[in-house]
Each structure stands twice: as structure tokens, then as C-alpha cells.
Amino acid sequence: MGNENNAKTSIDLTKAPEKITNKDLHRSWLRWWYANEIPHTYDRMIAPSFLWGITPILRKLYKDKDDLQEAYLRHTQFYNTQAVWGGGTILGITASLEEARARALAEGKEEEAVSADVINSTKVGLMGPLAGIGDAIDSGTVQYILIAIALPWAQGGSALGALFPWVAFVILTYMYGFYFTKLGYRLGRSAASEIIGGKNIRKIIDGLSVLGLFMMGILAASYVKVSSSLQWSISGKEFVLQDILDSVLPGLLPLATVLGVYFYFSKKGLKITQALVGLSLILGVLAAIGIL
């Protein structure tokens, strides 16, 4: 921070930062992608992965040992985000901020340099909102669209049912994650507003949401199995409850079950374990007394 008595007056060429190339960005993205949640802890979350990812870039930027050490330590502080939308973008943005800071420091313009506080608050400020988008899109939508496509293959006993969603997910997220890294580096901090508020990305997210919900409808129709085994006879005539339900609206019980859990979540929040136990009990009791 403002260490003025250290100010340099002339430009020292041996301390000038090297240029950051596409290859450097790719290397850092790959390192971040790989380290991602390996060193996960409660107190720092995945800060060490970010540090490990950006290390080669910091090495190229800071030729002064004290500046480099300060940069290393800055990235050991608490950091947690989603790997692709948050991680890729923030990695690129941070690289551009670090580069601006390193250049100013090398030119001896300490007061004008991007401060360490700005770098930290940019990371911390963006990690939450971008992680929210990333979790919903990557983990919640893209992954499950791929699984929904492959599930019938798995059910039919094919290895492709396992390989397709995994390989496709890895390739897709790797590619657009690196795109976000480059976008973050090119646009700096405005990359975040591009992703959160930008029109085109908004459209892609909306389109994926529609496709995701559509595929869940297909899955629910084939794989949620709730049917009644109840039957009775009145004056010699057999009544089978499921047949009656099917003549009213086919697929009523599975749909009612899905929507029932959906509205439970809407009302009570995402209490998954409660919902799991509660639904198991309800289904179990109904099956035990012969209704299901």
C-alpha cells in the first residue's frame, strides 16, 4: 500500500513487467481449472487454487521481490467462487489489474497504481454474483441437460450413458471458461457487467433455462414412478384406482409428486434432507397401507 519513501524516480528496465500472452492466460486457466477444489478449506475456501493458478502470471509481472511477495500473499486470502463463470472471469480480470499495478510500480508511479485493495475488493465483490450464475448454469442446467440426454442409454446398460455427460461437460465448460478468462483480461472489470447484465449472455442463459426445464419435463414423464395399486369391487364390479386416474389425466400422480416437492422448496427453502426424509416417509406409508 502507500509506501511512499520507497518511490522510484527513474524507470528501471530490468524491473519492467513482461507482456501477458494468450498462452500465459491459458496456462493460468488450466492451473486454476486443475487445482480448483483440491485444497478446499472452511476458512480460506479455494484461495490457494487461485494463487496456484495465477502464480506464473505474477512471476512475469513483478520483477521486484517485495512486490511479488505482496502479490502472492494477497491471493492467499479468503476466496470462493464457481470455477468457470466466476473463476475464469475473475482470473482474467485479476490478471489485467495485476498487470496495470505492476506496470505503474515499475514506472515508479506508486500513487497512481491500482491499489492492492482494489484488486482484493474486485475479487471478493464479484465472486458471489458470478458463482450464483455459474452454479445455476453449469451445475444446475448444462450438466443435467447432458445427463437427461444420456440417462436412457445408461438405463439400457450402455457405458455411453456415463461417458457422454462427463466428457461433454468437461469439454464445454473448459472451453467457455477459457473464453471468460480472455474476456476478463481484455475488458478488465467491465467484463463482470458484461456477464451479469450483458444482453447476449442473458439470452444464452434464458435459452439454457428453457431447454433445461423442458428436458426435466421429458425425464419426469419417463422416470418418476408413482402409481396406485389400490383396487376394490362394488357389487361385483372391479375398480382399479390407477385406471380411473389414467382416464382423467394420464401421468397425474408423478406430476403431482414433482410439483408438491417443488412448492415445498418454494415455501420452505431448499431443505433437501428434510424433503428426502419427508417424501420417503410419505411414499413408504402410502405403499405400506396399499394405496401406492
Binding site: W33, G140, K203, G217
Partner: protein
């Protein structure tokens, strides 16, 4: 397969696979490996020499774990751990796929405690990272950020899974097989078939926007109506993509004309 228990090599290979996934040592690709049981099911199938049965069972397990995402990193269950135990048990005991769910759910909950214990152990390693960062020791950082956490996770997951598979799986398989065919299995079947609703409801919540629920309903009734035609999911995915595209086209044009 008339196998009564897993050989120690089989148990070890499955345990190492689970450790690879749960230590996150295969990079971000472990997100899918950890959330979805499919690849773990495939590995179990290959190791036990019955890919086809393993995949069918795993597909049922996948359904109850559909909505699994981990905001902030922690999940209420570990599907990969659950699958690594439930699929061998189901193959050994000759269980129906929906019955395997009854084994998977409690094991998955136990797995999440192991995973969280990993965070706790990593907390000690991060002090080493601080030290190496201050020394600008890049080799040390690779050791403390990548290598050591991986070794610690392996030390945690390999023995736990090996014991569960080698000693636990035959016992659970015997027990469940002795119950087979009775009223209890009708109940497990009903619970297993219905729990798929939970995962799907969870994704509907995650994707968000109640107004989009109409697309879920559209697809649901389309699939119910067309069931006799046996249309595959790739075809449905293409139709869904076209509908999504049309929707975006319509809203962006109405936004421009306003």
C-alpha cells in the same frame, strides 16, 4: 455373476476411484464425477465385470440425485460414495434398481461427513501455503496446494471405502437379499420410484423463474402423450432447443419493438 463378495483387488480399485473423485484430483471434471453417480457406476461395472447391470442400477440412483449442486462447496450427500457401495451391493444381492436406492441414500449421507472432514484436514495444510507464499517458493506451493491435500484425501477415502466395500458390502447384500420379495421391497420400490421427483423438483428450483415452469409442463405432457412412439431423448433435446430459440427470438423482438 455368482459372486458373493468383492475380491480385495476389486474393492481397492473402486476405493481408489472414489478417492480420485472426492479428493478432486481430476480437476474441475470431478464436479460432474462427484455430483453424478454415472461414471462411478461405470467403473464399478467394469471392475465387477458387469457393465450392463451396473449402468441400469446407476441410472436409478442418478434420478434421485438429479438436483445435486453444491453452492459454497458442501452437499447434503455424496452421490459418488453412495454409488460405489450401493451398486456392488445391488449386484451381489441381485436387487432391483429402485431397491438399490435404499442402500445408496444412507451411504451418501455418511459420505458427506467424510467430505467435510477433508475441509477440516486441509485447514492445517493452508498454514504451510502461507509460509511458502511468503518465501515465494513455487515448488512448495505445488506441494501444499496440490500434492499434500491429495495425499490426505487418499488417506481418508481409500481405507474408508475399502473397508466399506470389502467387509461391509457382502453383509449389507446378505441382509437385503434376505428381505427380498416381501412387503418391504414393495415399499422400497415405491419410495425409490417416487424419490426421482425430488431431484427433478430441485433442478426446477435451481434453474429458477417460476414463469418458465410452463416449458416443464409442455414437455411433461408431450412426453406422456407420445410415450407409445418411443421417441428418444436426443430428439426431444433438439425440439427443446428449437423451442428455447424461438422463445428467445420472440422476447428479444418484443423488447426491441417496445
Amino acid at each position: 455373476m455368482g459372486q458373493a463378495s468383492l475380491s480385495s483387488i476389486q474393492a481397492l480399485i473402486i476405493a481408489i476411484w472414489v478417492a480420485l473423485v472426492e479428493s478432486r484430483a481430476l480437476g474441475y471434471s470431478t464436479l460432474n464425477l462427484r455430483f453424478s453417480p454415472l461414471m462411478t457406476g461405470l467403473v464399478v461395472g467394469i471392475v465387477m465385470g458387469d457393465v450392463s447391470t451396473a449402468m441400469t442400477i446407476t441410472a436409478s440412483i442418478q434420478l434421485i440425485y438429479m438436483g445435486m449442486i453444491a453452492p459454497g462447496g458442501a452437499m447434503p450427500s455424496e452421490p459418488a460414495v453412495a454409488t460405489a457401495i450401493a451398486v456392488p451391493v445391488a449386484i451381489l444381492a441381485g436387487l432391483q434398481p429402485t431397491e438399490a436406492i435404499a442402500v445408496a441414500v444412507p451411504v451418501g449421507l455418511l459420505g458427506s461427513y467424510l467430505y467435510q472432514f477433508r475441509f477440516f484436514l486441509n485447514t492445517f495444510i493452508v498454514r504451510l501455503t502461507d509460509k511458502y507464499a511468503a518465501e515465494l517458493n513455487d515448488k512448495g506451493l505445488t506441494f501444499s496446494i496440490i500434492i499434500l491435500p491429495t495425499i490426505v484425501s487418499f488417506a481418508l477415502f481409500v481405507p474408508a471405502m475399502y473397508i466399506g466395500l470389502y467387509y461391509g458390502a457382502p453383509v449389507i447384500a446378505d441382509f437385503t437379499a434376505s428381505l427380498s420379495g416381501g412387503r418391504i421391497f414393495h415399499i422400497l420400490d415405491a419410495v425409490g420410484g417416487g424419490l426421482a421427483a425430488l431431484g427433478i423438483a430441485l433442478i426446477l428450483q435451481v434453474i429458477g423463474k417460476t414463469k418458465y415452469l410452463v416449458f416443464f409442463l409442455l414437455a411433461y405432457f408431450t412426453a406422456v402423450m407420445l410415450k407409445p412412439l418411443g421417441i428418444n431423448t436426443v430428439t426431444f433435446a433438439i425440439v427443446g432447443a428449437i423451442i428455447a430459440y424461438l422463445y428467445i427470438l420472440v422476447i428479444s423482438e418484443s423488447a426491441e419493438s417496445n
